[in-house]
C-alpha cells in the first residue's frame, strides 16, 4: 500500500513537467497550426541552461530559482527568434513542411547543444531548502517532488485565467479558430503569434529546467519528451488545457507504476491506455472533433494524368543505366546506389499513404523496422534464409499496419500523424528493451543474403530489381479503382461516403498496403546492412522518409524517387565531411522548406508546365 501511494505521488510530480511541455505544444499548435517538433528541443535547452545558470549563480534559493526562471526566459527568447526568423516565412506553407522545418531546428539544436555542453550527462544540484525528504506512510518522498505536484495545478489555473479573463486570451482563443478573421477585425496577428510562441516556449523551457534536480541532463531529452508530449496531447485532446493536464497525470502515474511493476512493458501499457481512450473518444479525453479547416481557395491538388512520354523515356534510360552500372562504377558507389534503391521504395510506400491516401505518418519507420526484424528473427531463431525473409517482411509490415492502422484511420491530419509516431516509439522501445529477443541496443547481426546475392553486384541487382518492381506496383495501384477510391476519400470523405464508399475501410487498407511495402523495404535493408538495430525504427528514420517524400514533392508520382536519391546522396556526403553533419542537414532542410515549398519534383513540374504552357 505504502509503495503504491509513493509511486502515485512520484507520478504526479513527473506529470507537472509533462503538463507544462504539452500545454505549450498545444497552445502553439492551436494558434499557428504548427506542430513544433522543436518544442522538445526547447525543453532540453531549458534543462541545460538551468544547469549552467544554477552552477554559475551563487548557491541559494535566489540563485537556484533565479536560474530556473532565467533559463525558461532565455528559452522564451529563443522561441521569439525562431518565430521571427523561420516560422513567419512559412505560416502559409503546407503543415507538413512546417513540421519538417521545425525538425530541421531539432537537428541544429542537437549539435549546438553537443558543441556547447559536450556529450556527457550533466547532474544538477538539489533545490536549496528542499533537499530532504518527507516520510509518507513510512516511505521517504523528496520534498522537491512535493513542490512539483503543486506547480502543475497552479500553472493550469494561471493559464486558465489568462485565457478566459484577459483580452489577450480572448484574442488567442479566437485566433485558434480563425486567425485570418481575427486579422480582418484589426488585431495584429504577428504580435499575437509571437507572444503565443514565446509563452509556449517558456512553458517548455520551464518544464525542462524544473527537471534539473530530478534527473541528469542529456542529449536524448528532446525526442523522449516530444513523444510523451504528443501522447499527452492526443490523449487529452488537442487544444484543451484541462485535457492536457488530465492526460499528463494519467501518463505520469502510469510511467511511475510501470517502472516498478512491469519495467519492460511500461510503454506497451501506455499504448494500451491510449488505445482505449482513442477508441472511446477519438479526439481525446476533452477534445472535440476539429471543425472544418477554412478551405484554401485556389489550391487544388493537381490531377494524376498519364505519365508524360518524355518521363517514360527518361525512366527507361535511367533504368538501363542503373542495370549496367556495375560495369562502370566501383563498390562504394554500388553500395550507395543499393541504399538509394531500397530507400526510394521506402519513400514510395510513405508517399502512397500520404499523397493519394491523404494520411501523413510521422512513424513510418515502424513498418520498415518491423520488416527488418521479421527477416532477421526468421534467420536467427529459425534459421530461415532470405527468400522466406523477404516474404515475411512485407507480411509483418502489413500485420502491424492493420493493427495500428485500425486506430489511426479513426483520426485525421496531424492527430493521425502524432498517433503513428506514438506507435512507432512503442515499437522502438520494445526493440530496445526486449533484449532476449532483439538483442536490444546490440541488434541482431549476421543477417546474410542468399549466397548468390552476397557479392556487392549481386545484391545491387537484387535490390534494384525488387525496389523498382515495388515502386511500379505502387504506381499501378494508384491508377486502379482502389487507388482512385482512396484518393476520392481524401478529396472529400463526406461525398465518398455518400456514394457508397466505406472511407474508413479504404483508408485502413491503404494504410496496410503502405506498411507492407515499407516492411518489404525494411527486409531488403536488413540483408543489405547484414544487421538490424533499434535505430531502424527510430524517429530520425521516420523523418528521413518524410524528408524524402516532401523533398521530392507529395503531389507528384516521381517525387519520392527524386527525394530518396537527393537525400541519401546529401546524407552520405555530409557524414563524410563533418562531425556536425546534423546541424548542416538541419540547416539545409530549413532552407529547402523556405525555398521549395512544393518539393523538387513539384517545382520541376511547375517549371515544365509554365514552359510548355500546358495544364496539369
Amino acid at each position: 500500500m505504502d509503495i503504491v501511494v509513493v509511486q502515485f505521488l512520484t507520478g504526479l510530480a513527473s506529470a507537472s513537467s509533462l503538463f507544462l511541455v504539452a500545454s505549450g505544444l498545444s497552445i502553439i499548435f492551436g494558434v499557428s497550426r504548427i506542430v513544433n517538433f522543436a518544442h522538445g528541443s526547447f525543453y532540453m535547452l531549458g534543462a541545460y541552461l538551468a544547469w549552467t545558470l544554477v552552477e554559475r549563480l551563487p548557491y541559494g534559493p535566489l540563485g537556484f530559482w533565479g536560474g530556473i526562471v532565467g533559463a525558461a526566459a532565455i528559452v522564451a527568447l529563443l522561441g521569439l527568434v525562431m518565430e521571427f526568423v523561420l516560422l513567419r516565412r512559412i505560416y502559409r506553407a503546407p503543415e507538413l513542411f512546417q513540421l519538417l522545418a521545425t525538425f530541421g531546428v531539432v537537428l541544429i539544436v542537437q549539435d549546438a547543444t553537443l558543441w556547447l555542453w559536450g556529450p556527457q550527462d550533466l547532474l544538477g544540484p538539489r533545490a536549496p531548502g528542499l533537499r530532504g525528504a518527507v516520510t509518507i506512510l513510512g516511505q521517504r518522498f523528496p520534498q522537491y517532488d512535493l513542490l512539483l505536484i503543486f506547480i502543475g495545478p497552479v500553472v493550469l489555473a494561471l493559464l486558465w485565467l489568462l485565457f478566459t479573463r484577459t483580452r489577450w486570451g480572448t484574442l488567442v482563443r479566437a485566433a485558434t479558430q480563425d486567425r485570418e478573421m481575427v486579422g480582418a477585425l484589426g488585431v495584429d496577428q504577428k504580435l499575437l503569434f509571437t507572444t503565443v510562441f514565446m509563452l509556449g516556449s517558456f512553458l517548455a523551457g520551464l518544464g525542462g529546467a524544473l527537471q534539473l534536480p530530478r534527473e541528469s541532463v542529456n542529449l536524448q531529452m528532446d525526442l523522449t519528451i516530444i513523444t510523451d508530449a504528443f501522447v499527452v496531447v492526443v490523449v487529452g485532446g488537442m487544444g484543451s488545457l484541462g485535457g492536457a493536464f488530465l492526460a499528463a497525470l494519467l501518463i505520469g502515474v502510469l510511467h511511475a507504476f510501470g517502472i516498478v511493476v512491469f519495467p519492460k512493458i511500461t510503454l506497451v501499457l501506455i499504448f494500451l491506455v491510449m488505445a482505449v481512450v482513442l477508441v472511446l473518444r477519438p479526439y481525446g479525453l476533452m477534445g472535440r472533433k476539429p471543425g472544418p479547416v477554412a478551405a484554401t481557395v485556389g489550391l487544388v491538388t493537381p490531377l494524376i494524368g498519364p505519365t508524360p512520354r518524355a518521363l517514360v523515356w527518361l525512366g527507361l534510360v535511367a533504368g538501363a543505366l542503373l542495370v549496367l552500372a556495375p560495369l562502370f562504377v566501383g563498390d562504394y558507389t554500388l553500395t550507395i546506389l543499393s541504399e538509394m534503391a531500397i530507400l526510394a521504395l521506402f519513400a514510395a510506400s510513405l508517399h502512397f499513404m500520404m499523397g493519394p491516401g491523404g494520411m501523413a505518418s510521422f512513424g513510418h519507420a515502424a513498418y520498415f523496422g518491423l520488416g527488418a526484424y521479421a527477416a532477421a528473427l526468421l534467420m536467427r531463431q529459425l534459421g530461415l534464409g532470405m527468400p522466406l525473409g523477404l516474404i515475411a517482411a512485407p507480411l509483418a509490415g502489413a500485420a502491424f499496419g492493420l493493427l495500428f492502422g485500425w486506430f489511426c484511420v479513426r483520426l485525421s491530419g496531424v492527430y493521425l500523424a502524432m498517433l503513428t509516431l506514438a506507435f512507432a516509439q512503442i515499437c522502438w522501445s520494445v526493440a530496445f528493451q526486449w533484449v532476449e529477443l532483439t538483442g536490444g541496443d546490440n541488434g541482431l547481426l549476421n543477417i546474410l543474403p542468399s549466397g548468390w546475392a552476397q557479392t556487392r553486384q549481386g545484391f545491387y541487382w537484387l535490390a534494384l530489381v525488387l525496389s523498382i518492381a515495388g515502386i511500379l506496383l505502387l504506381r499501378w495501384l494508384i491508377r486502379t479503382p482502389f487507388g482512385h477510391a482512396l484518393r476520392a476519400a481524401r478529396d472529400n470523405p463526406l461525398r465518398a461516403e455518400a456514394v457508397g464508399m466505406a472511407v474508413g475501410r479504404l483508408q485502413w487498407a491503404g494504410f496496410a498496403v503502405a506498411a507492407s511495402f515499407a516492411g518489404f523495404a525494411g527486409g531488403l535493408y536488413a540483408y543489405f546492412k547484414g544487421s538490424v538495430f533499434p535505430t531502424f525504427i527510430s524517429i530520425p528514420r521516420s523523418v528521413d522518409a518524410l524528408l524524402m517524400v516532401l523533398l521530392g514533392g507529395v503531389d507528384t508520382l516521381a517525387g519520392p524517387i527524386v527525394g530518396a536519391v537527393v537525400y541519401t546522396g546529401l546524407h552520405e556526403q555530409l557524414m563524410s565531411l563533418t562531425d556536425y553533419w546534423r546541424a548542416i542537414l538541419g540547416l539545409i532542410i530549413v532552407v529547402l522548406v523556405v525555398a521549395f515549398p512544393q518539393g523538387l519534383a513539384g517545382q520541376a513540374r511547375d517549371w515544365w508546365l509554365a514552359r510548355n504552357g500546358g495544364r496539369a
Binding site: N492, E497, R615
Partner: protein, 254 residues
C-alpha cells in the same frame, strides 16, 4: 400512387434540444417536395436522418416500403437514395468524368478491382450521365477548376449514378445566379418526371420553391406547421409570420 418515401414520427434531440419532433410525410415517384423553414428549424437534421448521416431517436423512414431507419449512409445510398450537398462536394483532384466513374464503380462494386485502370472503367456510362446534365463537353476538365453552376450539374450527375428512387437536395441552387437556378431546377424536374424519381429539397430562394415544387412543407422548431400546394402555403398567415415575411424579398415584390 404508392409512396417512394414514407416518414413517420421522426424525432431527434441534441443535448436536450428537440431538433426534430414527430415529423411525418410521404413522397411519390416523380414528385418534387420542398422543405422550408427558418434557420435552425430542423431541416438539415431531418435531411441527414433520411440518408442515415444522423441516427434518429425515434420514428421510421421507409423507402419503397422497406424500413431504412438508422442505416449507414452508404447502405442507404445503395438502396437508391442520391444526395447533393449545400456546399458543392466533388472530388477535386479528378476530372469531371472520373468523378462520375467513381460513383458508378462504387455502385457496381468494382472499387477493389486491381487489374484495371480506373480511368477506363465505366467511362461510357459516365459520359451518358454527363450528357443528361449537359456536361459531356467538359468531361475531361479537372473538377477543382469548374465554375460553380457547372459543379452543381456534376453533383447532379454523381447523384444519379446509383439510379436513385429518391433524390435529396440540400439547397441545390444556393450561390447560383437567377437564370442558372431556373435552369438547374427545370433540369431536375424533367429528370425526376422521366425517371420517376422522388425529389426532396430544401431551399431559401422562394422563387425556386414556388416555381418548381409540386408540394411545400414548412418546419418550425422541429415540427411540421404547414403542408400543401405552393399557393396554399404562400397564403398561410402563420407561415408568413414566421418565415416568409412581407414577400418583399422574392417574386414580384419589388
Amino acid at each position: 400512387m404508392s409512396a417512394v418515401l414514407a416518414v413517420d414520427g421522426l424525432r431527434k434531440s441534441f443535448g436536450g434540444v428537440h431538433a426534430v419532433q414527430g415529423v411525418q410525410f410521404a413522397l411519390g415517384a416523380g414528385e418534387m417536395l420542398a422543405l422550408i423553414g427558418p434557420n435552425g428549424a430542423g431541416k438539415s437534421t431531418c435531411f441527414n436522418m433520411l440518408n442515415g448521416q444522423i441516427r434518429p431517436d425515434g420514428g421510421t423512414v421507409m423507402l419503397d416500403g422497406r424500413d431504412i431507419t438508422g442505416m449507414k449512409p452508404r447502405d442507404v445510398w445503395r438502396l437508391g437514395v442520391g444526395r447533393t450537398f449545400q456546399i458543392t462536394a466533388t472530388f477535386a483532384s479528378f476530372t469531371v468524368a472520373e468523378n462520375v466513374q467513381l460513383a458508378l464503380s462504387s455502385y457496381h462494386r468494382r472499387l477493389t478491382t486491381l487489374w484495371r485502370r480506373a480511368s477506363s472503367l465505366d467511362r461510357d456510362e459516365a459520359l451518358a450521365l454527363l450528357r443528361q446534365v449537359g456536361m459531356a463537353d467538359q468531361a475531361d476538365r479537372q473538377t477543382g477548376i469548374l465554375a460553380y453552376g457547372d459543379l452543381k450539374r456534376v453533383e447532379l450527375a454523381i447523384a444519379l449514378a446509383n439510379r436513385p428512387r429518391l433524390l435529396l437536395m440540400d439547397e441545390p441552387t444556393a450561390g447560383m445566379a437567377p437564370q442558372e437556378r431556373v435552369g438547374l431546377m427545370a433540369l431536375t424536374a424533367r429528370l425526376a418526371r422521366e425517371q420517376g424519381i422522388a425529389v426532396l429539397f430544401t431551399e431559401h430562394d422562394m422563387d425556386v420553391v414556388f416555381g418548381h415544387a409540386d408540394r411545400v412543407m414548412v418546419l418550425e422548431r422541429g415540427r411540421k406547421i404547414a403542408e400543401g400546394t405552393p399557393e396554399a402555403v404562400r397564403s398561410d398567415e402563420r407561415v408568413q409570420a414566421i418565415y416568409l415575411g412581407s414577400g418583399a424579398m422574392y417574386g414580384e415584390g419589388h
